[in-house]
Amino acid sequence: MAKSKAQLAREHLERALPAVAAGDYTEVVAWLFVALEAAIAAVAARHGLEVEPKHWQKLDVAEQLQAEGRLGVDVAATLRTLNEARKQALYEGEEPDLDGKSLEDLAAAVESAVEQAEGAGDG
């Protein structure tokens, strides 16, 4: 049976956390990014919203859910930061710009969204 998006979000987050402690930014931003996308997809499904494959469309969905109070206030900004950071780390091999946040800040923000996804179920 396929895993739910909320379950995937939690598992991805748990993969990211040891990398946060180790300061491995590539692992951190890659796993936090997919954890947050899965969490957004879980909450979106609960509210009947379709999630498109383009990252920027997921950002639109996150902003909509945020505006409706269904996701935390910093989810869209965190997704934007992680998407840019992921591209910098993976494609350019650089230490990413985290918009002034620490890896721990980002992990905490994603964990909050994952908890909301778990509360929402997968609809």
């Binding site: 396929a2 895993k3 995937l8 598992e11 991805h12 993969r15 590539t26 692992e27 890659a30 997919v34 996308e37 899965a38 997809a41 494959p53 383009k54 990252h55 920027w56 469309q57 950002l59 639109d60 934007r80 591209k87 993976l90 494609y91 350019e92 091999g93």
Partner: protein, 250 residues
Amino acid sequence: MADTKDMQGASGRSTAQLEVAGLQALAVIPVSLRALHETVVGRALAAEAQALILTGSTAREARTPVSDLDYHLIGTPIETDDLPGELDVHVLSPANLRARLREGDDFVHWSLRLGRVVFDQGIVRETTRLIREQRLWPDATRKLTQARKSVSLAHAMVASEDEDAALEQACTALTLTARWQLLEQRVFPLSRAELPAQLRESGHTLLATGLDATIRRAASLQDLTGYLNAAEALTESTQEPRHLSNSRAA
């Protein structure tokens, strides 16, 4: 090679020619994105940018369903947070542009060789001349390191059973592997959608099939494992990659 032709196209242009270049850049942008393009151009000019280059798949007229609208802006950052998320503006100072070129950053090389110049106060002409005169080439070793890391992550995402994440990461991993392999073979990698054809011409059929499938989002987790194994075998078989940073073409 396409890059030689495009380098010549970006060098030694008059003002009139640059205006034509800007119109040529506009012509390849989908109608739905032209207003966004004009906004970016307006803000870049207002910020007195040294140059603006349309880059990525749009510049090659080879957009895929998940393509962004990418630019290299030479100058100071412009406000983009209020613009659609599909916009990606990569900002570099002139000094950073020169430094990255010499370090063998393949993205900077890509924009200067294959991008469409929207406007240029001289820095694009200067750096394309540098490429030509010093026969600069991207550093394949950097790409190999990134490819290995990315393949490892993709395998882990396949194991997680998250199809969306695995497809995305596998596409990234196969793209990086393709770029590394082509650079090693002294073939300049084109846009992502054009890479499968370049790979086939270079004899990497399975890698080409895998990349094509991930671009089209048409691969199962089992398929992805096979493609990633092929990429892994290729990257791991290179024990001591040739260091090509700033090397001169043969």
